[in-house]
Amino acid sequence: MKPQQTQKLAVAIITASAALVVIPIVLVILFIVAKGIGAISWTFLADAPRSGMTQGGIMPAILGTIILTLGTAIVCIPLAIGAAIYLAEYAGDNRLTRWVRLAIVNLAGIPSIVYGLFGLGAFVLFLNLGTSIAAGSLTLGIMTLPVVISTAEEAILSVPQEFRTVSQSLGATRWQTIRHQVLPHATPGIITGVILGLSRAAGETAPILFTVAAFYLPELPKSLSDQTMALPYHLYVIATQVPGMPLQIQYGTALVLLILVMSMTLVATVIRTRMRRRRDW
């Protein structure tokens, strides 16, 4: 084959692979929307489940997922951003740095069910928090750390070195430089990482299984030590544990979860594009 032909073939294959990637996501969305859209109604979104969850709505699960996502954010964001700043700006080639990096790689590799068991052992039992929003948020928060740390570190490192040099040449301390020249420009990337991490946490079932999720709890939680329903676990329950569950309710629940998670991703994208457009360097 001539080089030009080889090139054409290669481009064709690469383009086809890229196009194929779109198909599964489109199919998943179409499938869930088609099967679940019929279930969506005001009652479905605003009411508690009734009659063994076969009627009513999923409001406590939606609210529970939102609360857990906020809890995850509170646990995860300060720790992750602190660690990312340390790694990007201060970490020398020393033992602490190597331990921190090793820890992050390993945290990222742990299966989510193991986080669930860890949360049960550490927070529910050892810290005696019980099956509670506090325990669930801590578990999800730790699970979310690696992805947020990695994206935040990348965002911090992508701020041009020149700004740091110039800032310090003007008498700013290292911390002032980070605070005034680095973090503001890294914010879009950090926010993206945070939201992507949180959207993953919002959709996880295994980590909340033993730490917070309630099988059926139509009342809303009143404090951090209460249990709550949550969408992913509720979906698991109605799909596998409740005989005679109408399919439409299952797909409706899946659709709500999908919309919640995808709208978080959308928000992340919008924030990033807006802030990128505003910068002039």
């Binding site: 020398g92 020149e162 700004f163 740091r164 040099t165 110039v166 800032s167 310090q168 040449s169 003007l170 008498g171 700013a172 301390t173 002032q176 005034h180 020249q181 420009h185 910068r279 002039d280 360097w281």
Partner: protein, 252 residues
């Protein structure tokens, strides 16, 4: 008169072991335009960045010997480095505004120094911009982005930004490298004004520029200072053959 800056037997190595400076000794008296010239990789920029300890940002490098600012060893333990950098301003080869407006750039160092008095800041901003001969061009658009300025304006902004901190010394590392001849002569002109009040150390763009602006000069080669003298001696009758070969364009 006590030199403003001194290097005494300075040796400097980067983390890869490369020896960038070898036994460099220099005295720079106040209110000179002291030019460090020589071919690429002769250690000029490396030496400049030792004076304000910007070399601290390079990991794993090592210095022997001493750098003195008004008699004080700048590498001594307990030296207030941010304060040192405010007193020894620096302008880089590539015009390097920080993101934000012209005004943001001008007030950044002052704010970081903890100067809260906005009136005082505005006075300093105006005076520094006038000293750098930029005031008339930007006074009506201080809130515009610094990146919207031309290359020459950006570089004069960077000079003004350092001057706003009222330094004793101004270090310029090839400040006209990317500028057209007109902008270059505007920068050079402002240097002659500034010499009245500041000690200026500069790496020039060319031998010709060195001869134009310098009051004193040092010729550097391979990390060593070959010869130091006033401008007429260095460019008129250099003592060292290598200096003569370089200023007459036989190499470099």
């Amino acid at each position: 008169m006590q030199p403003a800056l001194q290097a005494e037997h300075v040796y400097y190595t980067y983390s890869d072991g490369a020896e960038a400076l070898k036994d460099v000794s220099l005295d720079i008296a106040p209110r000179q335009i002291f030019v460090l010239f020589g071919p690429a990789r002769s250690g000029k920029t490396t030496l400049l960045r030792l004076f304000n300890r910007l070399s601290d940002l390079i990991e794993g490098s090592a210095i022997r010997g001493s750098i003195r600012f008004n008699g004080q060893d700048v590498f001594e333990h307990g030296v207030n480095v941010p304060d040192l950098r405010r007193r020894i301003g620096m302008v880089f080869a590539v015009p390097s505004p920080l993101p934000g407006s012209i005004h943001d750039n001008m007030t950044y160092g002052l704010k970081m120094a903890g100067i809260r008095d906005a009136v005082l800041r505005e006075e300093r901003v105006e005076r520094a911009l006038k000293q750098a001969a930029l005031w008339d061009e930007v006074k009506d658009r201080l809130d515009n982005s610094a990146f919207a300025l031309s290359g020459g304006q950006k570089q004069r902004l960077c000079i003004a930004r350092s001057l706003a901190l009222e330094p004793d010394v101004l270090i310029l590392d090839n400040p006209t490298s990317g500028l057209d001849p007109l902008s270059t002569s505007m920068v050079e002109e402002s240097l002659h004004e500034l010499k009245q009040r500041y000690t200026i150390i500069m790496v020039p763009h060319s031998v010709q520029q060195a001869a134009r602006v310098a009051t004193h000069a040092a010729f550097m080669l391979d990390g060593e200072v070959i010869e130091v003298g006033d401008v007429s001696q260095i460019f008129g009758k250099p003592h060292d053959q290598r200096t003569e070969d370089y200023v007459t364009g036989r190499f470099g």
